[in-house]
């Protein structure tokens, strides 16, 4: 078991290194491949009508004139060990994990991301609890009551749910519940440290809208999985030995049907923690997603790199956790 965990952790680190290489390559190489040189890149960050000297200075300051491999080395070193940055005359220490300084605002990237993270985390964790419980419950019920009105109704809704974009349902929810009926007026993010009550009441609408879309998908997956599992021989055996139907469904059927769902759940949660971009934009919450959009609009490469790395970290971490949990449940996985 220990070997398995160690092996998974090594793979995780390896995966992150490759992701960092590819990300770095793409964001620093693609502009060059598309025909921009480091001088033109630096010119973007200097301001209106810059002098040639100012651009050259910026180019040197941002390190854009160095070879890509050297820039990448600096980037990695900053994350692992931290490093010094020269800003004009002063020399500042940026402790690990250091994702550098914004090309635009000169703010360090890491603290900014840590400010945005609680917003995204409250959104993602709250919604994920809702959709996992809701989606699996509806899926199981409609599998057990296959062909009934409930099944048809819930599966119809689920199909509609997977076809709806959040930036449409979010606006409909805002229009009806926030603007027309004033149940949750002026939805905006309130930190939980400020007021638990207002944090909660402002979160309800985004949670429900986000969870609805995922719940629809999970209900469909659970139903399909349940239908398949309930036809298996071991279910027949469980029934034959006289177990009550409740136990057959929960202990035997659901247990087998829900494991693949948990894999997807891990991935979805990890993906969402890296920035619920669409939800945050629709409800204008200042989370990681908004941070990303701003970074991209500003062409702020260190911020883009930082947020992509953080988001990848969450995805890879979630996958690794799911894998390890799988190995705990199912010993066959450990040897694979």
């Amino acid at each position: 078991m220990t070997t398995f965990i160690i092996r998974r952790l090594i793979t995780m680190v390896l995966l992150l290194i490759v992701v960092s290489m590819v990300t770095f390559g793409i964001f620093f190489l693609i502009p060059r491949l598309a025909g921009q040189n480091s001088y033109e890149l630096a010119a973007q960050y200097v301001g209106r009508n810059p002098t040639k000297a100012a651009i050259m200075q910026m180019e040197a300051k941002l390190g854009l004139n160095q070879p890509l491999i050297v820039q990448y080395g600096h980037f990695l070193k900053g994350i692992v060990a931290g490093q010094y940055y020269n800003s004009g005359t002063a020399r500042t220490w940026c402790g690990p994990p250091c994702f550098g300084y914004s090309f635009r605002t000169q703010q360090p990237v890491w603290p900014q991301m840590m400010n945005a993270l609680p917003v995204t985390a409250s959104l993602a964790i709250g919604a994920s609890v809702l959709w996992l419980v809701g989606g699996v419950a509806v899926g199981v019920l409609s599998a057990l009551k296959r062909g009934t009105v409930f099944d048809r109704l819930s599966m119809g809704t689920a199909l509609a749910g997977v076809s709806l974009p959040i930036f449409f349902t979010g606006q409909v929810a805002l229009l009806l519940f926030s603007y027309k009926w004033q149940i949750f007026p002026n939805v905006q993010y309130v930190p939980i440290t400020e007021s638990v009550q207002y944090w909660f009441s402002n979160m309800v609408l985004p949670w429900v809208t986000l969870a609805f879309l995922y719940a629809a998908l999970y209900a469909r997956l659970t139903r399909a999985g349940m239908l398949e599992t309930m036809g298996e021989d071991f279910i027949r055996t469980a029934r034959a030995k006289g177990l009550p139907e409740r136990i057959v469904v929960t202990r035997h059927g659901l247990r087998a049907a829900v494991t693949p769902i948990l894999t997807i759940f891990g991935m979805d949660l990890g993906l969402l923690l890296g920035g619920a971009v669409l939800t945050e934009t629709t409800f204008s919450f200042p989370g990681l997603g908004q941070f990303t959009i701003q970074a991209i609009n500003n062409q702020d490469l260190p911020e883009i790199m930082g947020v992509v790395m953080l988001a990848s970290f969450f995805i890879v971490l979630a996958n690794t956790v799911v894998d390890i949990l799988y190995a705990v449940v199912d010993p066959r996985v450990r040897t694979a």
């Binding site: 974009p165 606006q171 971009v277 990303t292 995805i315 996958n319």
Partner: protein
């Protein structure tokens, strides 16, 4: 000939049939359940067709039971499925709208300031200014015709959705087959690449990627560059899912006897991959491509919504929705948000329904 005779002699439990080209002849073979009679071969001098493998050997009239190919069975089932057929017809209609529609509607870029309430900058009249001249109303502020913009948006949405899917399917299928068939280090490398792709925060990465490319590059510029870029970005991130599914299928297919049979009469790598394995993968490829299209349409709409899609004034559904939320138009003119939202919803729903129907029709277990 030999094949049908052989079928009469033994209970014809054919596991697999296929045809390969050997020299100038088409060689048909069948793999029987009896291990000692693994391969029966007929030589057919006329150029045969390579359809789904099951319909190649069973066409002979001498067999007592009329054979039906997977394609025929699926088509019969699909025809009975009213929902799937309805959504299929609707998809055809959407394609027609996308191709012919822009020629019939008004110019999507013409302003109609006279239809706009000057104080609230919302369209005059109820329901977003719906009238005979403007069946879906007009936009707030500058009064462009909504129908024209929605129809024009269909064109881009479908084009990008389709082509991105084609790209994803081609990459996914080729790499999936190769990984599944060869195994070993090839599988490890491709598998790792899939994991790397799946570890990227897709949406974040796609917006960032579209963002860093300058407005003209690689000899293309403006919206044309954007469309190409969107197709590549979306297609490039969608392939690992396809790849995984195909790899899994190939892992079980490559152990089947018909592959041994093909190999035993001299077929080599690429031939087995694309002439033997690929036809057996038609069903999953078809189903997942159909289900990938709506995902990609949603993805494209999301990129438009976030402002990294098509460049205005080119109309797109996502961008209309983004306009509705960022300027608060959803409060003063809900139709401006509802119409593009419904357009996305109906389109995506139609593809999903059709994909579901197709999957049920092609599902071998439900026969």
């Amino acid at each position: 000939m030999a094949l049908s005779r052989w079928c009469q002699l033994s209970p014809c439990g054919i596991l697999s049939v296929g045809a390969i080209r050997y020299g100038d002849d088409n060689v048909r073979y069948a793999v029987d359940m009896d291990w000692w009679l693994r391969v029966a071969v007929t030589v057919d001098p006329s150029p045969g067709q390579h359809g789904l493998p099951a319909d190649a050997g069973l066409t002979s009239a001498e067999t007592a039971i009329e054979g039906r190919s997977l394609g025929q069975i699926a088509w019969r089932r699909l025809r009975r499925d009213k929902i799937a057929m309805g959504s299929g017809v609707f998809i055809v209609f959407l394609v027609l709208v996308a191709v012919l529609g822009p020629h019939f509607v008004a110019n999507p870029d013409v302003y109609h300031a006279n239809l706009i309430n000057p104080t609230f900058s919302r369209p005059n009249g109820p329901w977003g200014g719906i009238s005979l001249a403007h069946p879906l109303g007009v936009e707030p502020v500058n009064g462009r015709d909504m129908l024209a913009r929605v129809v024009d948006g269909t064109q881009y949405s479908l084009l990008i959705g389709f082509l991105a899917t084609v790209l994803a399917v081609v990459i996914g299928v080729v790499l999936g087959i190769v990984a599944g068939y060869f195994g070993g280090w090839v599988d490890t490398v491709i598998g790792f690449a899939m994991n790397v792709f799946l570890a990227f925060p897709l949406l974040v990465f796609a917006i960032a990627l579209v963002g860093v490319v300058p407005s003209s590059a690689w000899g293309m510029s403006g919206n044309f560059l954007r469309v190409v870029l969107l197709i590549f970005v979306i297609g490039f991130f969608a392939w690992p899912y396809m790849g995984r599914i195909i790899r899994g299928q190939v892992l079980s297919l490559r152990e089947r006897e018909f592959v041994d049979a093909a190999r035993s009469i001299g077929a080599r790598g690429p031939y087995i991959l694309f002439r033997e394995l690929l036809p057996n993968l038609v069903a999953p490829i078809l189903v997942y491509s159909t289900l990938l299209i709506p995902t990609n349409i949603l993805f494209e709409a999301a990129l438009d919504y976030l402002g990294v899609g098509l460049i205005p004034p080119t109309p797109s559904w996502g961008q209309m929705l983004s306009d509705a939320v960022s300027n608060g138009f959803y409060q003063i003119d809900p139709m401006y948000m509802v119409i593009p939202g419904l357009a996305i919803f109906i389109t995506v729903m139609a593809f999903n329904l059709f994909g579901d129907g197709l999957r049920d029709a092609l599902d071998p277990r439900a026969r």
